[in-house]
């Protein structure tokens, strides 16, 4: 089980994990793109293809972080259940009130996968990692786009 390191400097570890994750993310996303193009016909809709690409983006994020993170586990569950990926999510059950909670923390919980189940400290920690992963995915998509269109 991961140790609760709320205060020790884990940035080096985070960076090391990120490098390996980037490769995983890129290979998963690229394979998905090739598959989407191969299985897209002239009749398949633009919206359908866009949805599949978007889903592939979140899938490659989730697979790159694997089960190491609460947000990626929550995202993997969502992907496997074929539920719609919607951010911010509609909270079907009331989240437990937490220490240090504000309205803004509740807003954040809806934006981060698995947010509602996290206490305040976990939410802050998971959010930082989720953002790192999101920015990496966005840069990946931009790079792919630039190299295709050049």
């Amino acid at each position: 089980m991961e140790s609760k390191s709320y205060t020790t400097g884990s940035r080096d570890n985070a960076n090391r994990n990120l490098e390996g994750s980037k490769t995983l993310m890129a290979s998963h996303f690229l394979r998905a793109l090739f598959r989407i193009q191969q299985t897209s016909t002239t009749r398949s809709s633009f919206a359908g293809r866009r949805r599949r690409i978007r889903r592939a983006a979140y899938a490659s994020m989730a697979y790159s972080a694997g089960t190491r993170r609460a947000w990626s586990r929550a995202l993997l569950r969502k992907l496997r259940s074929r539920a719609r990926l919607r951010f911010p999510r509609r909270l079907s059950r009331a989240a437990r009130p937490q220490r240090g909670d504000t309205d803004q923390a509740q807003v954040l919980r809806k934006l981060v996968p698995g947010g509602p189940g996290m206490d305040y400290c976990k939410l802050l920690e998971e959010t930082a990692d989720y953002i790192r992963c999101l920015t990496t995915q966005v840069r990946l998509m931009q790079t792919v786009m630039d190299s295709i269109s050049s």
Binding site: L33, F34, F46, R49, R54, F87, R99, Q104
Partner: protein, 82 residues
């Protein structure tokens, strides 16, 4: 959940680390951060990233319709390895 109380110090540390991944983090001081401001900026940033994923998905969808990415394979991989 650990039985020790989470201190304000620990929360401030987590908020500082969170602020560090937000844009223009270098412009901000690392002393005591305002939780409200950090959370607000964080929510705005995540929303903008989600929008970017949507937007890039749309543009990639267009590109896939008009370009064979198989032939761009080498170029894509080269630019990713850079």
């Amino acid at each position: 959940m650990s039985s020790s109380r989470i201190t304000d110090e620990q929360i401030n540390d987590l908020l500082t680390k969170l602020q560090a991944v937000l844009p223009e983090a270098h412009l901000r001081s690392t002393d005591r951060v305002s939780a409200a401001k950090v959370l607000q900026d964080t929510c705005n940033y995540i929303r903008s990233l989600h929008r970017e994923v949507d937007d890039l998905s749309e543009r990639l969808s267009e590109l896939l319709a008009n370009n064979d990415i198989n032939s761009a394979q080498a170029a894509i991989i080269r630019s990713l390895l850079r």
